[in-house]
């Protein structure tokens, strides 16, 4: 049986689609959004995370590291990322979990075992499983297998995607998917490139194709003030989504600053978000109103 690198499996997810769901976070993403709140999922490999506030100073990690990547003296405790290959030896011996490895190779059976635990809950709440990431669509072949197992059990299968993959990847699994949670970050190619590092043409084209096939779609728009909340962008999004036949809902997501600790634990820079203010409720409400005025079903998520 094949497998995939999984960042984490989150049970009892309430904001990843209908009902109560289990969300499986895959690793690896072709985009690199400046506000990503799951930065540990961007890399396709395992990655070391540090939480040195939990460190008890036992120094076991120093001995364990084969690359001498850890610096720990009186004043400093950090990892030289350029030397670290995330081998995980330190995490193995660090009992307080001050050093952990994100990313575990799992096969379908292992993932299903976790998913199955809440089967009654899916039935009660009309929930199911959401595959997210990272970009789950990078794992279409694996999802073919995993998705079949999910469908076989009668759980609904949602895919949370940013859409930046060749359409043939969607074709591999389309028949299994109940609903796509489809991100649109900006209608403007320049803004899109500024946010994600990539162009948006493929993304928009893919969602149009999915809609032409009649797939159930929930559009998700993360909004950051002064980045993608312009009237122009919203108008363009309204015009574009209006043309799509099978969009049932638009979720507007305010950008939060909740990922600071994660960025710190990866030694990554979060100043893009930290230096800005969190998206105000009134901004979100106004955008929702605009969609609603146009006869569309928009909500805050």
């Amino acid at each position: 049986m094949s497998g995939a690198l999984i960042s984490r499996i989150q049970r009892f997810s309430l904001h990843d689609g209908d009902g109560v769901r289990t969300t499986v976070f895959f690793k690896g993403c072709p985009l690199h959004c400046r506000w990503c709140h799951n930065p540990e999922t961007i890399t396709p490999d395992r990655i070391l995370m540090t939480h040195f506030e939990k460190c008890i100073g036992c120094r076991a990690c120093l001995e364990a590291c084969p690359h001498k990547a850890i610096v720990f003296d009186e004043n400093r405790h950090f990892v030289k990322r350029e030397l670290c290959d995330s081998c995980g030896r330190c995490a193995e011996v660090c009992f307080p979990e001050a050093m952990t490895i994100n990313g575990q190779y799992c096969d379908v059976g292992e993932i299903m075992k976790e998913i199955d635990k809440d089967k009654e809950l899916y039935a009660l709440s009309k929930g199911g499983v959401t595959l997210s990431g990272g970009e789950p669509m990078l794992h279409a072949d694996f999802i073919r297998e995993l998705g079949s197992a999910i469908i076989e059990r009668g759980y609904t299968l949602f895919i949370d995607t940013a859409g930046y993959v060749p359409f043939r990847e969607f074709e591999k699994i389309n028949d299994l998917v109940d609903t796509y949670l489809y991100d649109i970050k900006s209608m403007n190619p320049d803004t899109h490139r500024f946010i994600t590092g990539k162009d948006n043409a493929l993304i928009l084209e893919n969602v149009r194709k999915l809609s032409d096939l009649g797939k159930d779609i929930i559009i998700r728009m993360p909004i950051m003030e002064d980045v993608n909340d312009s009237d122009e962008n919203i108008s363009a999004a309204i015009a574009f989504i209006k043309e799509l036949k099978s969009v049932r809902q638009i979720d507007i997501l305010p950008i939060h600053k909740l990922a600071s600790a994660k960025y710190r634990s990866l030694d990554l820079d979060y100043s893009f978000v930290e230096d800005r203010k969190e998206t105000d409720k009134t901004v979100i409400r106004k955008i929702i109103e605009r969609f609603v005025e146009n006869g569309m079903n928009a909500k805050e998520n």
Binding site: R11, F12, L14, H15, G19, V20, I56, C58, A60, F95, P96, E97, K117, D118, E120, L121, L124, S125, G127
Partner: protein, 754 residues
């Protein structure tokens, strides 16, 4: 309703505050009269003594009628504000407690006996050998017969009685009923007096109704919804004071009053809005008469339980108009009290689920959800016939008990399981000596495998339960001498027919239970021994024991502690192996804490109700083998330990799926702190959550919905958060009135669940 009611509430609360600020009232004259009467005839039999007390109290007591409260109930007894009664010292509990002060030589040795164990936090008793808190008076019998009807039944029996003790008993019953009727007349007279000076038309209407009703009730059976509703409070207060009880129950309001409600509506003498208003007042009384803002005191004594939902004796659902009114009132009023026990079964109307969910989503924090699918079979297991089990109510926090005919001693003896494990492990000499006075303690020393350790622990546990229950049994015959309850007994099925008091096996069913504290922590300790000592052989028992005794403070021991904490699997993380391991322990503990004779013709049944003792006992227990440091709280009831780890809601609920909660008629509670911000969750989510809890066989569910930031802010700026109600364990409180260490514990707990 809410806005229109706000002004009325304010008026009533101001009146309460003004009056109760003068509490405790001086009742020394009445106490002297009691002493004097007692001196005149010091050899009265217990029932005669009680009858004398009824007479003196009823003749001499004063009553208070509030202008802005529709109900009459306040007997000026000398009780301090915020006390439920039935407690000493006399200066705080009023003249009702005169008898237990007089007879204290009976109870004192009992209290003395357990004192050293309590001081060591090995166990906790409520200092009483007969439970007078978690009891539900036979409200329905009073509704059916009125005091006069009950009196006639007693008179019939009296006419053919020759046994001297029973004669005394019946006469005391009559004296008690007469006393109650006299007190009601005093309310009528007081209302009448006030009417003469009153000009406010609203108040005049109110006082007139009180005067008319008090002339009739409880002498006669109530005829209207109002009279029945008032009878709850009247009876509650009357019994509390005249029989020296701390009854924590005020009825199963929707089941017991729906006929009155519908009759009144169809006769056109009551509108839905009037009924709503009466229920709002009714719910507000507990909040009003106690001072929940008094800083730094846990108001454990001021806990009142109200039951809604559930079933009728024939199994039909209760859910009705009154249920809906109460649920709506609960989310609108944001009360600390009463503690509403919401009974719900999987077969109940989906609309009922929806209304419960709306109440939860509305931010109400003073309720418990009780799953009928578990509760009813568990009571049947305790020996209660199905049709009686179906109408159970709850007393105090959420302890199930059958109204009118049951005495279920509960929440009066808690035992600390982690400390028992530690004693079996290392048996500190000074503690060991006095524990061995209670039962022969066996030690793990010699064990060569896990099964042996487990067997030794269970043996100690069983001996412990036997010893504790034997002590209670030894005292059982004294209950009717210490504080007999003839008045209360008139309301209880069978007491009149049998000519036996409630304290003398007069009721139809008796049960008792010992509450087990820290089971989740114990499971983790046992699992550590099984895997680390005997399977992986990473440590010897002695090594672990020494480190724990040392609070893991020795060189290198913190690393071991972190290992135990994070690398040994824990209950609550929903791994099948551990779920089964835990289920077996739950099963064995249930079996071994059950079956003992309670001294009243009933049997002990198992209970996991841990009240606030999971914290208090934890605060005073040394380190444990699961990696918990000394002085930290234990797990709560059926739940996993929350020490230093993340509790995921789904995992916590699913972890109990293998446990058969019907083996615990004394209830199991799953407490979940919901760290979500309210406005982001729809009501459907709570419906799903409830159903999921039921599917997994849960018994009682308690949610605490408040986010950590709010708690921290409330601690910093209490004035801004005066109305923040939080669920502490069995009861709710204003967060700002909690003691600092409990505030701290709640914040940490909330953090663990994020």
């Amino acid at each position: 309703m809410k806005n229109h009611f706000r002004e009325k509430k304010k008026q009533m609360f101001e009146e309460f505050d003004a009056f109760y600020s003068g509490y405790p009232a001086d009742v020394s004259d009445i106490l002297e009269k009691l002493d004097e009467e007692d001196r005149k005839e010091p050899d009265r039999t217990p029932y005669r003594l009680k009858a004398m007390q009824y007479r003196i109290l009823s003749e001499n007591c004063r009553v208070k009628v509030f202008r802005h409260c529709p109900f009459y109930f306040e007997i000026v007894s000398g009780i301090a504000r915020g006390r439920l009664g039935a407690k000493l010292p006399l200066s705080e509990s009023g003249f009702g407690s005169w008898i237990i002060e007089r007879n204290r030589k009976i109870n004192d040795p009992f209290v003395e006996f357990f004192k050293p164990y309590e001081e060591g936090y090995f166990l906790h008793s409520l200092s009483k050998f007969f439970d007078v808190t978690h009891i539900i008076p036979g409200y329905e019998n009073v509704f059916a017969y009125g005091f006069n009807g009950l009196k006639n039944r007693v008179l019939d029996k009296l006419a053919n009685e020759s046994d001297p003790e029973r004669l005394d008993f019946y006469k005391a019953m009559i004296q008690g009923l007469d006393a109650g009727m006299l007190v009601a007349e005093k309310f009528a007279a007081e209302a009448d007096r006030m009417l003469k000076e009153e000009n406010d038309p609203d108040v005049i209407r109110n006082l007139t109704r009180i005067r008319e009703s008090a002339l009739r009730c409880p002498k006669e059976a109530p005829r209207t919804f109002y009279e029945a509703l008032n009878t709850y409070w009247f009876l509650h207060e009357l019994l509390k004071i005249f029989d020296c009880l701390s009854i924590a129950t005020i009825g199963h309001i929707d089941r017991e009053l729906i006929t009155y409600y519908r009759n009144d509506i169809s006769k056109g003498i009551l509108t839905r809005q009037e009924a709503e208003e009466l229920i709002y007042y009714y719910l507000l009384i507990t909040d009003g008469i106690f001072d929940y803002y008094e800083q730094g005191r846990d108001h454990l004594n001021a806990n009142m339980a109200l039951t809604i939902g559930g079933q009728n004796p024939d199994g039909s659902p209760v859910y009705n108009e009154i249920t809906s009114i109460v649920l709506k009132a609960m989310s609108e009023l944001k009360l600390v009290n009463p503690n509403v026990s919401v009974r719900v079964g999987s077969q109940d109307d989906p609309q009922y689920f929806k209304e419960i969910a709306e109440m939860i989503a509305g931010g109400c924090n003073n309720y418990s959800i009780i799953n009928d699918d578990t509760a009813i079979p568990s009571l049947v297991r305790a020996g209660i016939p199905l049709e009686d089990a179906r109408i159970y109510g709850t007393g105090g926090c959420q302890e199930t008990v059958v109204p009118n005919k049951h005495h279920f001693m509960r929440a009066f003896m808690y035992i600390n399981l982690p400390i028992l494990f530690n004693m079996s492990l290392h048996g500190k000499t000074e503690d060991r000596e006095y524990l061995e006075k209670l039962f022969p303690l066996a030690f793990f020393n010699e064990a060569t495998n896990y099964e042996e350790v487990y067997r030794i622990f269970l043996k100690n546990f069983r001996e412990y339960c036997l010893a504790v229950s034997a002590k209670f049994r030894e005292y059982a015959p004294y209950a009717k001498i210490y504080n007999p309850l003839p008045l209360y007994s008139t309301t209880v099925d069978d007491c009149i027919d049998k000519g036996k008091d409630y304290t003398d096996s007069g009721a139809r069913f008796y049960n008792a239970s010992i509450s087990l504290v820290g089971v989740g922590t114990l499971i983790d300790m046992l699992y550590t021994v099984k895997t680390e000592v005997f399977e992986k052989r990473n440590f010897t028992l002695k090594q672990l024991s020494d480190m724990a005794m040392n609070d893991f403070e020795g060189p290198g021991e913190e690393r071991v502690r972190q290992y135990l904490l994070n690398r040994v699997k824990k209950y609550g993380n929903d791994e099948e192996e551990l779920n089964r391991f835990a289920a077996k322990i739950f099963h064995d503990l249930a079996e071994l804490s059950s079956g003992m004779d309670d001294g009243f013709g009933g049997r002990y049944v198992a209970s996991l109700f841990s009240y606030n003792w999971y914290a208090k006992m934890g605060f005073h227990t040394e380190a444990t083998l699961d990696g918990r440091k000394a002085g930290k709280a234990f797990s709560r009831s059926i739940g996993p330990s929350e020490y230093g780890k993340t509790i995921e809601i789904s995992k916590a609920i699913h972890s109990i799926s293998r446990i058969d909660s019907t083996e615990y008629p004394g209830i199991t509670v799953l407490y979940l702190d919901m760290p979500y911000t309210r406005n982001r969750l729809n009501t459907q989510f709570y419906v799903d959550l409830l159903r999921y809890f039921m599917v997994n066989g849960g018994y009682v569910l308690q949610l605490n919905i408040v986010d950590r930031e709010t708690l921290i802010a409330a601690r910093e700026e209490p004035d801004k958060y005066r109305n923040l109600v939080v669920r502490v364990c069995g009861f709710s409180e204003y967060f700002v009135s909690l003691k600092p260490e409990r505030q701290e514990e709640m914040i940490n707990r909330n953090e663990a669940s994020q």
